[in-house]
């Protein structure tokens, strides 16, 4: 009998001899299941990684947005601006649309995506994917007494992009977010409840302004505060966690 697995140019023997592979394989089924391509994706699909924080801890590059979807299913996206951009060509202008999308779960994760495309819908879709790929953890702290949940940024942080500079300052409980609408949206999606902000430079350029705020939010986890002065106990990267031989004990790294 003729199998369905021939490839190539041979007449009658190669090529697509059997269309419709498998049983019960409708188009819908394929759209929902995710076949991972990268090693990290395979580990995530096998449930070998428990939270996205493990990925952040080792700065592993996230290349598939489905990984972020898997860990943070409750992400909400917000289109900040659709900006038409034009390029001068011999035959007139070529107009495309640039979409700025901010995504976050209001509980410590935000992402920002920028995409340019000929159609608005395509740009928004592409920007959402890029925003998911750029999701970053946000560190929150206290203004005064350490009780209940963290509600503000842990310290004064600043971020810069182009000429736009954004400075985030801790605020007491109940202040709310004191900011322009653009960074306010971003901080809300990050899960920061109270914050004072100061903006410098040309904030009319929305791209730079929102990127500056995003950088400031991201800097919360790169600031060394006194409670982090204790020495870190290193754990094993997800790539090495399940090897047969155990890692050497921790004394080595003191040397």
């Amino acid at each position: 009998m003729i199998r369905r697995g021939g490839f190539g140019r041979g007449r009658g023997r190669g090529g697509d001899r059997g269309r419709g592979r498998g049983r019960g394989r409708g188009g819908k089924d394929e759209k929902e299941t995710w076949t991972p391509v990268t090693k990290l994706g395979r580990l995530v699909k096998d449930r070998k990684i428990q939270s996205i924080e493990q990925i952040y801890l080792f700065s592993l590059p996230i290349k598939e947005y489905q990984i972020v979807d898997y860990f943070l299913p409750s992400l909400k996206d917000e289109v900040m601006k659709i900006m038409p951009v034009q390029k001068q060509t011999r035959a007139g202008q070529r107009t495309r649309f640039k979409a700025f999308v901010v995504i976050g779960d209001s509980n410590g994760h935000v992402g920002l995506g920028v995409k340019c495309s000929k159609e608005v819908a395509t740009a928004i879709r592409g920007a959402i994917i890029l925003a998911k790929l750029s999701v970053i953890p946000v560190r929150r702290g206290y203004w005064g007494s350490i009780m209940n949940e963290p509600h503000t940024v842990p310290c004064k942080v600043t971020g810069k992009c182009g000429s736009a500079v954004t400075r985030l300052v801790p605020a007491p409980r109940g202040t709310g977010i004191v900011a322009a609408p653009v960074p306010k949206k971003l901080l809300q999606l990050a899960g920061v409840t109270d914050c004072y902000t100061q903006a410098f430079g040309s904030t009319r350029t929305l791209g730079n302004f929102v990127k500056a705020t995003f950088a400031a939010i991201g800097n919360t986890y790169s600031y060394l505060t006194p409670d982090l002065w204790a020495e870190t106990q290193f754990t094993m990267s997800p790539y090495q966690q399940y090897t047969d031989f155990l890692a050497k004990p921790q004394e080595k790294r003191r040397a």
Binding site: R4, G5, F7, G10, D16, R21, I62, P84, P238
Partner: protein, 496 residues
Amino acid sequence: MADHDDHMDQDNVPQEEEAQVMLGFAEPVDLEEHGPLLAEDFCSKMGGLPIWLNPEHVLDTKTMSCDQCHKPMTFLVQLYSPEDHPEEAFHRVIYVFCCKNGACHKKSPQGCFKVVRSQLGQYNPYYTPVSKDEEDAAEENEGWEPLDNNKHAKTCFVCGMYGPKTCSRCHKVSYCSAEHQSIHWTKGLHKQLCGTQPPPTPATADLSELSISDNKASKDDDEDDEDEYDEDGNLIEKKHKKAGITQTLTKEQQDYANKLDIDFRLVERMNRFPELEIISEAEVFDQEALEEGLADESSGDEQEAEEGWEEKAAALKLKREKKAAMLAKKNGGVSKSLETAESSMNALVPVGDEVYENTKTDIDSAFLTFQKRIALYPDQVLRYARMEYELTNPEPLYVSNIGIPKAGDIPPCPDCGQERTFEFQILPQMLNYLGIDHSAADALDFGTVLVYSCKENCHVEGKHYQHEVAIVQHFSEDGMQGTNMNITPNVSVSSK
């Protein structure tokens, strides 16, 4: 769509008609419908034991050893890819072998995949076409039958390559090396099964078909589950039906068959990949929609359109037309007025404080392109490019911008001196089907494997396996850099 153009443009058309890509999908072997995979089916498959096109001359482990660890390589995938033009390539199979140890891949990225090509002419001493009764011109052949001339070479039970050595006790099982013999003895069941005779058989049945050396009938059914077929006598009976046995087996025979089955599975778990069939299907996609997404990044010379640019454009157009009409009335020179009108369109470019914004983000654009293309068929494992003779073959789908092979990287065919062209590529989705533990640090991992083979499919008398080139490309280590921040390892993520 790859429609054959009868009048091909010989000029340099920027978008020449490109052939479609044929995709390969991995599916479990369909035992009920087609039975186990046999050599005369000329199928494509991955994992399990290699099915040799030329059953008399099989590969030797000396040619198929990893460059790093010098152990015999594991069979990965074989593709049946026949050609029309060289007559000797009527039947043509490409075999891909790889080292199972991921550490070898990390040390020498290009020496752990080996590709060989094997071809047979239409009239060969091994296969003959099934005689067709009706004259069906469209269907050239209905299938092939093996010619039983007993010239089959002995193959190793563990790896499937040439097996000159045999078990010293029973002389029934062949091996390629002492290492594989010891694997089968200790980790397989051969210690218990060696020397035991299969129980006496009924007249029509022939349990010797269940013997291990070169029969596929009892083996290829392991994709369903890991449960042993202990109580399920029915299933074993069905298997035997395929092999031509029509009578039911006694309990003794069933036990023996079970043991052989378990034996095979044990050895498979140690050394081989799970066996699956590869089905081909053409890639159908909307070229327009795909290309739109590819050129999406904002180039430097784009400027933000002013507020209310649409109304302005419309107003200006009106003004221009009015002016042109007036000028046309005044004098007959229409063309001059149009030129002046067009130059005034430059006013649409706005002036402002910061016209040029830095909104570029660091993204891995090659990977995003790759992801977009495979999103149409997410579970494809192979992309085959040599589909048509007249049309150009599509370029390989790269997974990153680094490691793209240049023309000088691919050595020409050593036998005929012709250049090697891209034939197919293996995609990383295949790693999902190999049953390896991805969390191990030494797990097998690659971005894509590009296989280049001789353009002319040259044939050398006496040389049954010709080596081809495999180039491995890995993913880049970039993620979304987007911001200026770094997360330093000093920070511990405390989960309160």
